[in-house]
């Protein structure tokens, strides 16, 4: 009855949802634009595996403890330095790894720019040594991408058989006992999402056309990522939610960390867009980050005054785009220096998503916080100008 699809090598390029370079063996990491985690950090993974003497769950390449070390960084007894992959609360990684170890599916939630995909890729690389069993969720993701499809030429020529079957990444992960990944779970249509429900609880995937089924091998697990502020896309049904342990990835904890992330990304983007370098932008970046953090957290940086929060997410990613936009303005139309006026319009656009409610929030913020703040006069004036 039960058939394993494992040994037959399947060409993943036939599967629409898998990335073109899904087989690490065929593509040399040196040529690819961005190598997979397991290739980029192969040395670290090998060093960890060599020195890992703790018990490993079935088919895990590393023990849970070593997986956590791989993500959080550290120094091994032999002096190998493991670079931190995720900078954030230790608790997050520990819960995520433990979830995978208890064979529960893991759902990583967070606003854009909180490293959901990054964490999921590295987890899969460390646990299974393979981060390529990936379903990239879109509004057009079909059920075949999660269950299986057919090679219609074979199907017509030889009739239904295992050879004519095109397994999905999830099916392959089940057969091989490795980690599958689903990106942007909430973008997948609800009926397609539902095919995950029984798959995750029964850990079997029936193939009624052949009268067969694929049973998950020990070690199989699934990591999904989703954006928790994008309400109304395709919210997860509670039945599906119950199958997951949920970990919310937080926004950067300290203002300094966030300023650092924003300025680093802005620098990279600016270079790839060939924007002229703008000197002394750091003060303005700090200001943008401060405004975003204060409105997002609903409290001023000094913790003294509470604020209303607008309906937008105000994620770090948006702060980056505000600053980039401001840089473009300053470079092309201004005097080359990033000034309050260059970012004011961008901030207004990011904050005021709902014209009625958010405008009040923004004006209150301007009048009660910005106006009184030392050294923010120029910013206040610029904002008043664009707010009208």
């Amino acid at each position: 009855m039960t058939v394993s699809v494992g040994p037959t090598p399947v060409d993943p390029t036939r599967n629409g949802s898998a990335p073109a370079n899904a087989v690490p063996a065929t593509a040399s990491p040196a040529q690819t634009l961005r190598p997979h985690a397991e290739d980029a950090f192969a040395a670290e993974l090998a060093a960890l595996a060599a020195q890992d003497d703790r018990p490993r769950p079935a088919r895990w390449r590393l023990s849970p403890w070593a997986v956590a070390t791989y993500l959080l960084g550290g120094t091994l007894p032999d002096g190998t330095v493991i670079t931190p992959k995720y900078i954030g609360p230790r608790r997050i990684v520990e819960v995520a790894v433990s979830t995978l170890a208890t064979d529960r599916a893991l759902l990583l939630l967070g606003v854009p720019g909180t490293a959901k995909t990054w964490v999921s890729e590295h987890l899969a690389a460390a646990v299974s040594g393979d981060s390529t069993l990936l379903v990239q969720g879109t509004a057009g993701t079909p059920e075949e991408a999660i269950r299986y499809g057919w090679n219609y030429a074979r199907l017509l020529a030889h009739g239904p058989s295992r050879d004519a079957l095109v397994p999905s990444p999830v099916m392959r992960a089940m057969a091989e006992g490795t980690t599958a990944r689903v990106e942007e779970l909430t973008r997948i249509p609800a009926d397609v999402q539902d095919s995950l429900i029984t798959l995750l609880s029964e850990k079997t995937l029936p193939i009624p056309e052949l009268g067969q089924e694929v049973q998950a091998v020990r070690g199989f697990n699934l990591i999904a990522t989703a954006n928790d502020r994008d309400r109304g896309v395709n919210d997860l049904s509670s039945a599906l939610r119950r199958r997951f342990n949920t970990v919310v990835l937080p926004l950067p904890e300290t203002p300094e960390a966030e300023v650092d992330i924003v300025s680093r990304r802005v620098d990279q983007i600016g270079r790839s867009l060939d924007l002229p370098a703008v000197p002394d932008g750091i003060d303005e970046i700090r200001r943008v980050v401060t405004v975003f953090r204060e409105l997002r957290d609903g409290v001023t940086a000094d913790g003294r005054t509470k604020l209303k929060s607008p309906s937008g997410t105000l994620s770090t990613a948006e702060a980056i785009s505000v600053v980039t936009g401001g840089l473009a303005l300053a470079a092309h139309f201004g005097d080359g220096v990033l000034r309050a006026g260059d970012v004011a319009a961008g901030i207004l656009g990011a904050v005021v998503r709902d014209p009625a409610a958010d405008r009040v929030v923004w004006q209150e913020y301007l009048e009660t916080v910005v106006r009184e703040r030392d050294g923010w006069k120029d910013f206040y004036r610029a904002c008043r100008e664009v707010s009208g």
């Binding site: 819960v95 119950r242 005054t305 509470k306 009660t368």
Partner: protein, 778 residues
């Protein structure tokens, strides 16, 4: 007592962590095994007399031993005891087995006096204080002392092996620590330990070695140490003393968890209580309890969730290298499995279970709480006897005693002790007068006892209560009321907290109506504060901030309102206008131009078409009254609204807003015939079918006028358009007045005026004298 061991070890020294459930279990196990003849507990010996009360039926932990100076109830100290405190377990064990229990720490009579002696400056000692557990935990490779203690001591199963083993191991560790750190900077500890040693010695003379001592682990090596009686006595010589009294007071889990004040600094009393109370499988039981709570709050949590949460918690514990899942593992598991990663339901779990709502009880026979004494003393001093019969009390707040009486009554009301109820003043309504109806009901004594948890003096208790009320208040209005009450009761200490909550609530409240309602009360408080000489700078600042928020929120909130909502909003506009007027004089740095900004808001309101007519009309009127809008401009705006393009109902609403209600609008129409003319022309132009719609509105507007005004208006209208025409052309004079003064009529009042001003000659006063009376008689 297990003979052989006692010979070498002397008394049974049980070093515990205060409020540690694992310690409590271990203490009980050891006591069961060793069966000592007496139990000595770290605590003030004055409480020995109160020990039997702990055995009573209605004594339910958490409770606290309260010591206070007899002459100064404000000076007090608490020893909180929870169900899971080792000290409480030892106490109960002794009572159950009819074995004497005694407290052996330094008497409160010294410790209370000490606090006075050294004042609030133990700072130097604090700096060098070592955290004994922190040092041990660090040596064991833990970053968190609490966790280390939990893993090593609290999470040990009880029953297997020698119950005494953990105490022995801990004592060794503490001995090593104290060899290194000495007294660790707690200089008072030496004196306390000397006293404990003396008491233990006394007990051993009485009970031989059948003595068990329950004390903080830190003290064990010092108690074991051999010291001469003389040396110990020398240490205790010449300690300051103060007359003290002790009693039991009820305590709560929430207060145990408070790190400041009288709290015991335990973050998770509910969790500890659970660890202590659960017979087995604490994690499973805890997560089931959490699931029950979440279910009661309508979250779908199935047994499968509980299973998965337990598995996750256990895996996390393994990953973190802990013997058993602790609170942090179970919390992480609850968040990931049951709460979908959200912290919101988790906050509920923390509040209800991890901290918990447990409220202790003490028997009615417990001695009086200091609050009662304090109240009795104040009553004597103010000559305000509690009487069962009802009587009225008039207070003149300008007199010191009366002002204090008023404050006392306000404070008691805050504490829920309704001895006096404010009554309507019989005399004047001046702010310096208060009338109270007094009546002392017997149950008020119970209320006083209950209020004892808030503090030891009326002032401290009322302050603590006001702060707690502010934190728990739901609406903005509730907090403003509280702020007012704080001023009346003169609780300056509570005011910062109340103000902070008020600012927070105001910042988060999205309903401008609430803000507008809160503002007048706040401004009123400001004025009261002025009368009573309270420092109201903070209050003025908050009021100004509130006003700013109203300014920002009001224009959007005025759009698209129905008739009732518009009428309500008009009242808000009036209230804010009044408040801003009063506030304009109050000092509030950074908010200097409040009045100007309010006027620009009014101007925006008056010009916006989506704003209901009644609000637009009122805005124009308020601007006109303030002299911010010229008569001509007002007339132009009125003409605009009353022109045929505006729906008649809207125009009528505008008129109501402009001259309606008790705003003295009638007189305005009487004096400015141009405005009256506009209304008249408009009214005659209203089409017949619309007239019936407009009529009720107009009736409401005009029927509120005084009869005299109504009659004058009628006469003016009857006089017809001729007069109006002439005033419209008279550009030189004030509208509503004849172009030239009527000197003959004006001269008639000159003698009276001269008399009033005390003038002999008739010099240059004519000019002023002519205008003013003319306005009155017109």
């Amino acid at each position: 007592m297990n003979g052989g061991k006692a010979d070498t070890a002397g008394p049974l020294l049980l070093g515990v962590r205060h409020h540690g459930p694992g310690s409590a279990r271990a203490v009980r196990a050891v006591l069961e095994e060793a069966r000592p003849d007496a139990v000595l507990i770290e605590g003030p010996p004055e409480a020995d007399a109160l020990v039997p009360l702990a055995a009573e039926e209605d004594m339910r932990p958490p409770v606290a031993l309260l010591a206070h100076a007899v002459d100064e109830p404000g000076r007090s100290a608490f020893w909180p005891l929870a169900e899971f405190s080792p000290e409480w377990v030892a106490l109960r064990w002794a009572l159950e087995h009819k074995v004497p229990a005694r407290f052996i720490d330094l008497p409160a009579t010294h410790t209370l006096a000490w606090e006075d002696d050294e004042g609030p400056d133990p700072g130097a000692g604090d700096d060098v204080r070592v955290d004994p557990l922190g040092a041990l935990a660090e040596a064991a490779g833990y970053d968190d002392a609490e966790r280390w203690w939990e893993d090593v001591v609290e999470h040990r199963g009880v029953g297997e092996g020698d119950a005494m083993a953990s105490f022995t191991a801990l004592e060794e560790a503490m001995t090593a620590l104290r060899e290194e750190y000495g007294n660790g900077g707690h200089r008072r500890d030496l004196v306390r330990e000397a006293h404990m040693r003396l008491r233990i010695r006394a007990a051993r003379r009485e009970f031989e070695d059948g003595v068990a001592v329950v004390c903080g682990a830190w003290h064990v090596p010092a108690l074991r140490r051999k010291a001469t009686v003389a040396a110990d006595r020398a240490l205790l010589k010449g300690l300051p003393k103060v007359k003290t009294d002790m009693t039991w007071v009820p305590w709560t889990h929430r207060r145990l968890s408070r790190t400041s004040g009288y709290g015991a600094g335990i973050d998770s009393p509910g969790w500890y209580g659970h660890l202590f109370g659960a017979p087995d499988r604490p994690v499973e039981r805890w997560l089931t309890e959490v699931a029950g709570l979440l279910r009661a709050e309508d979250r779908i949590v199935s047994p499968a969730h509980v299973i998965e949460a337990v598995r996750l918690a256990e895996t996390l514990a393994v990953l973190r290298g802990r013997p058993l899942p602790g609170l942090s593992e179970t919390t992480d598991a609850v968040r990931a499995v049951m709460c979908e990663g959200s912290d919101v339901p988790l906050a509920l779990v923390h509040d209800r279970l991890v901290v918990g709502d447990v409220l202790g009880e003490v028997p009615a026979t417990a001695p009086a709480v200091p609050l009662q004494r304090d109240l009795a003393r104040i009553q004597r001093r103010l000559r305000l006897k509690p009487e069962a019969g009802e009587r009225e009390l008039e207070l003149d707040l300008r007199k010191e005693t009366d002002a204090e009486r008023g404050r006392l009554l306000h404070r008691l009301r805050l504490l829920g002790i309704g001895w006096g109820e404010p009554a309507a003043a019989r005399g004047g309504t001046g702010t310096f007068r208060e009338t109270w109806r007094l009546r002392w009901e017997p149950e008020l004594s119970v209320r006083v006892a209950e209020a004892g948890v808030w503090g030891t003096t009326v002032l401290a208790a009322a302050t603590a209560r006001a702060e707690a009320d502010a934190v728990g208040a739901r609406g903005l209005a509730e907090v403003t009321g509280l702020a007012e009450h704080c001023l009346l009761a003169a609780l300056p200490e509570a005011l910062p907290t109340v103000m902070r909550i008020l600012t927070d609530r105001a910042a988060l409240d999205t309903d401008v109506g609430h803000l507008a309602q809160a503002l007048p009360a706040l401004v009123r408080s400001l004025r009261y504060g002025d009368v009573r000489g309270t420092d109201t700078a903070a209050l003025a600042e908050v009021a100004a901030g509130l006003a700013e928020r109203v300014f920002v929120g009001l224009p959007p909130a005025c759009a698209a309102l129905d008739a009732d909502a518009a009428e309500e909003m008009r009242r808000h506009v009036d209230a804010v206008h009044g408040a801003v007027g009063l506030l304009g004089d109050a000092p509030a740095p950074g908010h200097g131009k409040l009045r100007a900004r309010w006027q620009s808001v009014l101007r925006a309101l008056s010009a916006r078409d989506t704003v209901p007519g009644v609000i637009r009309g009122r805005s124009v009127r308020l601007l006109l009254d303030d002299g911010e809008l010229a008569q001509d401009e007002a007339a132009r705006l009125m003409g605009l609204v009353l022109s045929p393009g505006t729906p008649p109902a809207d125009a009528a609403a505008w008129i109501e807003g402009f001259v309606g209600g008790g705003s003295g609008g009638g007189l305005l129409l009487v004096h400015d015939e141009r405005l009256l003319g506009l209304v008249d022309t408009w009214l005659t132009g209203v089409p017949a079918e619309a007239f019936t719609d407009v009529l009720p509105l107009l009736r409401r507007t005009f029927s509120a006028y005084e009869p005299g005004v109504r009659r004058t208006l009628g006469e003016l209208v009857r006089r017809g358009p001729g007069t109006r025409g002439s005033t419209a052309t008279a550009v030189s004079g004030t509208p509503g007045f004849a172009p030239d003064p009527d000197t003959a009529r004006a001269d008639a009042v000159l003698p009276v005026l001269r008399l009033l001003l005390g003038l002999d000659g008739d010099g240059g006063d004519d000019e002023g004298a002519r205008d003013e009376p003319a306005g009155v008689t017109a």
